[in-house]
């Protein structure tokens, strides 16, 4: 019998398709509409950190260099108050196979898929993750399908995503290049059902476990060289997996005093599902269009419960403008002699601003870089933005207007970013939880889960509930 492939029918079969394509029964962990046994879900993957290191070494993942950015640190110190200006370190994740930390995230999924006898893997992503899955699949002898949102309705491709599609094909993947819209998820379900491949979703416990080694490596490298734990680790934040995995790794290594700072490019005002806005943003990820909704409600993804739970680990959340990131990207090339892509440079921008407020003997770690090149390069993005009618100029970066004006700072002093209220984000999370399941029905166990999920205690949650 031919199955109904309409949008409504396929999305209604979501749970059975997910179960078959992942082999994880989330019902075993779910304790209520808003809570689940997160740690048991992570533990039941069966992989220890040692296993993950071994698996990742088989496929050119991990053990990446940690560079001290001496000249950048020096210029930051020149504009910092006396005694301020922390040492800025950069974890060069571009050295992983496929050129980003996403190789860590894909590695365990590909290993698991192979072990369990799946013929191939599928992921729906316009980011570096596609190339990472394709690369890991190539090394494991698995077939691979990547679904990407690439074009607007005029057929104009976002240059960075075009490049990522090229890379996926270079690794032998079948790449579905789609126009703008959330129906990417529908296409993912269709492809999973048709092929019975493994769902290498970004948000499974396998994906997040793979990133934990990034945290343990940072702890070990900083301790070996500086005889201290990192004071701050700045993490570019979108879906939350980078932050969650890294923070879990740091905690596993005992670095429990390290501050975890999220950073996203501020794209407020642009709609992520808008055909028009699509090609008027110069960042395809690591921005507030993903970062804020995923932080304030992680369970909006292609698996029943998201293993990436950023507010559970986040201490601060900094925003930077597109212009500030482009300035710092250029500075990285000119002062440090390396060209890297936008994702890591987003957290580098926040780190530059933060370092000015930290003591000289402190250490701030930018925990990833990514490859750059045709399409991904900041010159490519700015040139494209100009073609799309976005104004590009030098000036005060506070004058940036996403989709309208990119204002590149004139001086390093103007790279400041701006913070967001963590309590507002946490309250927004609670409101979303209440939409999923009325707060009146929350049990003590629900409250304990929700409080832990925003890095607070139950007393805090109760006090917020009274006010909301």
């Amino acid at each position: 019998m031919k199955r109904d492939t309409s949008y409504a029918a396929v999305t209604a079969r979501k749970n059975e398709i997910m179960k078959a394509s992942l082999g994880v029964d989330f019902d075993r962990y779910v304790t209520s509409p808003v809570a689940f046994d997160y740690e048991r879900l992570m533990k039941d993957t069966g992989y220890t950190l040692d296993d993950i290191v071994r698996i990742q070494r088989e496929t050119k993942v991990g053990d990446t260099p940690l560079f001290e950015l001496t000249r950048l640190t020096e210029v930051v110190r020149q504009i910092s108050p006396r005694g301020k200006g922390a040492t800025i370190l950069l974890k060069d994740e571009a050295a992983n196979a496929s050129g980003s930390f996403k190789a860590r995230r894909a590695s365990i999924s590909a290993y698991e898929a192979k072990k369990r006898g799946y013929a191939g893997v599928i992921a729906a992503t316009s980011g570096n993750y596609g190339a990472a899955v394709a690369s890991q699949a190539a090394m494991r002898g698995l077939k691979c399908i990547i679904l990407q949102e690439v074009y607007d309705s005029q057929g104009v491709g976002q240059p960075e995503i075009v490049e990522k599609g090229r890379k996926c094909e270079a690794f032998g993947a079948e790449v579905h290049k789609l126009t703008v819209g959330p129906e990417l998820f529908y296409c993912l379900l269709l492809a999973l059902e048709e092929t019975m491949f493994f769902n290498a979703s970004l948000y499974t416990p396998f994906g997040i476990k793979g990133v934990e080694t990034l945290g343990t490596e940072i702890a070990a490298q900083v301790r070996a060289r500086y005889r201290r734990d990192p004071d701050v680790v700045v993490i570019t934040h979108a879906g939350g997996g980078n932050l969650t995995g890294t923070a879990r790794g740091l905690l596993a290594a005992g670095a429990d005093k390290t501050r975890i700072v999220a950073c996203s490019v501020d794209l407020s005002g642009l709609h992520m599902a808008s055909d028009r806005d699509f090609n008027r943003k110069s960042f395809t990820t690591g921005h507030t269009g993903f970062g804020v909704p995923f932080a304030t409600w992680p369970d909006r993804v292609d698996v029943p419960r998201n293993a990436a739970r950023s507010l559970r680990y986040m201490d601060d959340y900094q925003l930077v403008s597109q212009g500030e990131v482009f300035y710092v990207t250029e500075l990285l090339a000119k002062l440090e002699g390396i060209e890297r892509g936008p994702a890591g440079n987003t957290s580098l921008t926040a780190a530059v601003a933060l370092a000015r407020t930290l003591d000289r003997d402190q250490v701030v770690v930018v925990q990833e870089t990514e490859y750059t090149g045709a399409g991904k390069h900041h010159n490519a993005q700015l040139s494209f933005a100009r073609k799309m009618g976005v104004e590009v100029r030098r000036g005060d970066p506070r004058e940036n207007v996403p989709g309208k004006a990119i204002v590149i700072p004139e001086r390093l002093e103007q790279v400041t970013g701006h913070g967001q209220s963590m309590d507002k984000l946490r309250e927004s999370y609670l409101k979303n939880a209440a939409k999923a399941h009325p707060a009146k029905k929350w049990t003590d166990a629900d409250k304990a889960f929700l409080a832990a999920d925003v890095k607070k205690d139950v007393a805090w949650l109760e006090s917020r509930l009274r006010e909301l």
Binding site: V150, E163, H378
Partner: protein, 95 residues
């Protein structure tokens, strides 16, 4: 236009959802456009541009659509020079 021979590397296009079939709650500018997919592969039988075509992809799957592009290539680059970037981090060469 002439027929493209079997075995040529091409890109096909397929309308996945017409505007009336699209997901609810998407912005109006997106909702009035079809949801379209493109994929590359080797042509399985001769076809003319704009006509129905079937391809075999890099992983050996067979997919159908409309022949969109013959020899699809990547032409993305570094764009035109953006002068606003050039003097950042330099010793001040700009006159």
């Amino acid at each position: 236009m002439s027929t493209v021979p079997t075995g040529t590397w091409v890109e096909i296009e397929r309308v996945i959802l017409r505007p009336d079939q699209r997901a609810p709650n998407i912005p109006e500018d997106t909702a009035r456009t079809p949801y379209v997919m493109r994929v590359s592969g080797w042509l399985l039988e001769p076809a003319a541009p704009g006509q129905p075509a079937r391809v075999r992809t890099l992983i050996g799957r067979e997919l159908a659509g409309t022949l969109k592009t013959v020899s699809p290539s990547y032409t993305h680059g570094f764009g035109e020079v953006v002068p606003e970037l050039l003097d950042i981090g330099t010793a001040g060469g700009k006159p």
